[in-house]
């Protein structure tokens, strides 16, 4: 996964009131809920901003190293900003056999980015996953949290056009 390097210039301002709401109100400040807090923070900012993790570490009394370990362990967490729209293409065994590799290459070429990367205008991020657990309807893609079974290249083109038209 992309690592700590250059965070982007357009980093959003981290709002500590919002963080407090997530950490204390929503999850009662319980350490056990740390991963869920991180997921909620990520949903809000589309990645895990560094200041937010430091704040989380302070409030929960969990060393920042431990939080960083968790953030780098799970592929679904990102430490670099993600695009406004997220496309996941499954490259698990079943989907691979149904040609998802070609779909990834198609999108990558069309957007001019590598899998895992975000377009420079921050509109589109292309990710691959290793099986979504829906192999029976492969190939599967997820676009902005919505699942598309038996996806086609035509559908992917539609997504890209939609985003580009914005």
């Amino acid at each position: 996964m992309p690592e700590s390097e250059a965070t982007c210039c357009q980093e959003p301002e981290v709002d500590f009131v919002v963080l407090d709401r997530i950490i204390r109100d929503e999850f009662g400040g319980r350490r056990e809920a740390m991963i869920m807090m991180m997921q909620t923070i990520q949903r809000r900012y589309r990645y895990l901003p560094e200041p937010a993790l430091y704040y989380l570490s302070q409030v929960l009394g969990v060393p920042i190293t431990k939080i960083y370990e968790v953030a780098t362990f799970y592929a679904s967490f990102s430490l670099v900003p993600k695009g406004k729209h997220l496309l996941h293409v499954c490259t698990g065994t079943a989907c691979h056999l149904k040609g998802s590799g070609g779909m990834v290459r198609h999108v990558a070429a069309k957007l001019g980015i590598a899998p895992g990367a975000t377009t420079p205008d921050m509109k589109f991020t292309l990710e691959t996953v290793n099986c979504l657990g829906a192999c029976a309807v492969s190939p599967v893609v997820v676009f902005d949290d919505k699942y598309y079974p038996q996806a086609t290249v035509g559908q992917l083109n539609e997504f890209i056009e939609k985003v580009n038209a914005e």
Binding site: T65, E69, T72
Partner: protein
């Protein structure tokens, strides 16, 4: 509780791990990621032993397997030796020059060049991160997962919390971490990358740099010895020895001058 280890009954207390029992009874089990003072993490797997369960045996990592009842353990069967041999060969592909691996390779007949080497200077045992958490300033983390695990600081930045204790340097079985004292600063270098910088104390007498300037408070707190005054010397150990020697000599001559002017045979 009756524990049989390699056919002999050995002394053991409930809750002790297999490695602890083995060490106590002089039975050798190789370990790479275990030190008695730290929580076991079972990262390297070379300490795997066979636990006999009825007619079958089960492989368990002995460093983190606590014994709670009667058990029979085999620590050195052909299967385990083969297992360890392959493990060492695989680890050697990450750390071709590690002394610790050479020693084990000799013992188990492993071929250190069996797999193409890619020197990553790390066998991912996690000891540095664990000791840094316990002793140091919680600087080092195991990032990522699987074969991509690497030791790094949070966000890959120079860490502000390092106390320059060098525990990580001491504990690393493959010497991947080193410390450089230069220009009044101590640098901790993990696999060639600078992890932290700590200011060094300057001796007020001879001017050399010694020990790091650190805030020991949190460390002593963690050790449960909050009342111990923090190290705060202003002269280096050498100067302090010299000045002690000088004071002793002065006292010696004073005493001799007063009490026994001609008793200089006595050492």
């Amino acid at each position: 509780m009756k524990i049989i280890m390699d056919g002999k009954e050995v002394a053991a207390e409930r809750g002790q791990t297999i490695v602890e029992v083995a060490r106590r009874n002089g039975v050798y089990i190789p370990t790479l990621c275990h030190v008695p003072a730290l929580e076991p993490a079972a990262m390297c797997r070379v300490c795997t032993v066979e636990l006999v369960e009825g007619r079958r045996t089960r492989l368990v990592t002995s460093c983190n397997y606590p014994l709670r009842g009667d058990a029979e353990i085999r620590t050195d069967t052909p299967m385990l030796r083969q297992n360890r041999k392959v493990l060492i060969e695989l680890l050697a592909s990450r750390c071709p020059d590690a002394e610790a691996l050479k020693e084990l390779a000799e013992r188990y007949g492993a071929d250190l060049n069996r797999f193409p080497a890619e020197d990553r200077q790390c066998i991912m045992c996690g000891l540095c991160a664990r000791v840094c958490e316990r002793v140091g300033g919680n600087v080092l983390a195991l990032c990522g997962r699987g074969v991509e695990i690497r030791v790094d600081t949070s966000f890959g930045r120079l860490s502000p919390t390092c106390i320059g204790c060098a525990s990580c340097v001491q504990i690393c079985p493959v010497n991947a971490i080193r410390i450089e004292d230069m220009d009044g600063e101590r640098r901790v270098i993990v696999r060639g990358k600078e992890a932290s910088r700590v200011q060094l104390r300057k001796c007020t007498s001879c001017g050399i740099h010694f020990g790091p300037v650190i805030d020991l408070g949190p460390v002593l707190d963690r050790a449960g010895e909050g009342g111990v005054p923090a190290f705060n010397a202003s002269v280096c150990p050498a100067c302090s020895r010299r000045s002690l020697a000088r004071r002793l000599a002065e006292r010696h001559f004073e005493q001799h001058a007063v009490e026994s002017p001609d008793a200089d045979e006595e050492g």
